[in-house]
Amino acid sequence: MLAVETKGLTKQYKDLTAVDSLDLSIEQGELFSLLGVNGAGKTTTVRMLCCLSQATSGEAFVMGNSCDKDKSAVKSIIGISPQDTAVAERLTVEENLIFMCRIYGFDKQKCEQRTGELIRIFGMQNVKNKRAKTLSGGWKRKLSIAMALIGEPKVLFLDEPTLGLDVLARRELWRAIESLKGKMTIILTTHYMEEAEQLSDRIAIMIEGRLASLGTLSQIEKQAGVQGLENAFVAIAERGAEK
């Protein structure tokens, strides 16, 4: 079974087509990056896959469940870390995690076990009693991802997880994301080329809502006829703009 599948997925806002007939097949356990400039349709695609936005036409499936007809089944197997750090600012790190545990209906024992586990995985022992609003950007992002992982999702959506972080915080977050590879399917949106290059199994490049290129790094480089993801991206984006 595919982790994510879209068939002709389209999102239209009045006279703007944010996502145009997107066909994607993502395998289970894959770390898949959606790459594109601002407004390329990455976040809209993620929103549709997370049942946060209704597709205008086409279909989307997460682990075989329809994002249109079986929203509660989809919501119970996904986790999302949105673009902004979506955390409860006046709650501590631990309280934020416990809150999410309770949302997923875990009992006290499971709450403690899951919270402890995620605090350990993300190295948040020293900040677990700090309120979220006092954390640095990097810690907030880690907390946000940990909150997305609470429900033991089969598919994790990370929407521009390192946006606005300094280079050290970004590298640290990459290590955290890399440690999750293989344990679940991860769909990452980013416009940092090196991030996609470093982390992804496969990369999809979106230009103006359309899928302009899809494959491994070497396949994309071959298609663009240049070396390096940044050069390949620029070549593909310029070709897309000319069309």
Partner: protein, 255 residues
């Protein structure tokens, strides 16, 4: 239900950790209670009855509830302005879980607020030698629940329809109107003419009237039952409207 309680608990914690909540929901009403008692003690006894403790305490309790509206609106509009609500939309939480999770903590805070206000008012009444009727005070606290719901309903609507910058401004207008037309700071009943008609067009007037009647155990139809009925009807309508607005907005956000 577990999800509702989880969200309720989160909202209570957020509110309790906001210093502004203490200043506006508890501090300011208490200051008004003390200042107006000092005013009452400084003017001839029969000049202005509004500031007598049996009228002042229920009036200030209603005034305090208006700040609950402000914090309801602020809480919702702030959650909406970021992506926190979006994260929750992607979990199994429903619109019902979310609205109940916003209403219940505010209702709890409003009950605690009225207990503090009346406890302070009782102490003041003993000091000035005009002790409040305990039974009347208890009954009034119970009857303030519908008016709290009404203000929470207002807060829910403003919080959903406006952003975190506009919502508090609109609530301030309601607080000013409520204080004025609710007859909290003057005897609206004795004004007559257009002023009284205007006051009677506003639900705030009936909140104050029913609360004041409850404190002195006046169960007359005109002074207590009718105003209470109007407050209950307004509370049901505004809470239902608030829940409907929230669900509609959530559906639009997920459209």
């Amino acid at each position: 239900m577990n999800r509702t309680w989880a969200f309720t608990s989160r909202n209570i914690k957020e509110l309790l950790r906001d210093p502004l909540g203490y200043i506006f929901c508890v501090g300011f009403p208490l200051i008004m209670l003390i200042i107006m008692t000092v005013v009452d003690q400084s003017i001839p006894k029969e000049t202005v009855k509004t500031f007598h403790i049996e009228n002042l305490a229920p009036g200030v309790a209603v005034f305090g509830q208006m700040f609950i509206m402000l914090f309801t609106a602020l809480n919702i509009s702030t959650d909406r302005s970021g992506t926190f609500l979006m994260r929750l939309y992607a979990t199994p939480m429903t619109a019902g879980d979310l609205t109940a999770g916003y209403i219940i903590p505010m209702l709890i805070v409003s009950v605690v607020q009225s207990i503090i206000t009346f406890a302070a008012a009782f102490i003041i009444s003993v000091i000035i030698g005009n002790t409040l009727n305990v039974l009347g005070v208890l009954l009034c606290m119970l009857l303030l629940i519908p008016s709290a719901l009404m203000f929470i309903g207002f807060g829910l609507i403003f919080g959903v329809l406006f952003n975190e910058k506009s919502a508090p401004g609109l609530c301030s207008i309601i607080i000013s109107l409520g204080g004025f037309f609710g007859g909290i700071w003057f005897d609206a009943q004795s004004t007559g003419g257009i002023m009284l008609k205007l006051c009677k067009c506003m639900p705030f007037f009936y909140c104050t009237k029913s609360a004041r009647s409850a404190v002195v155990l006046d169960f007359s139809g005109e002074g207590f039952l009718l105003p209470l009925l109007i407050v209950v009807v307004c509370a049901v309508i505004l809470t239902a409207l608030g829940c409907f607005t929230f669900s509609k907005k959530m559906r639009a956000d997920l459209g």
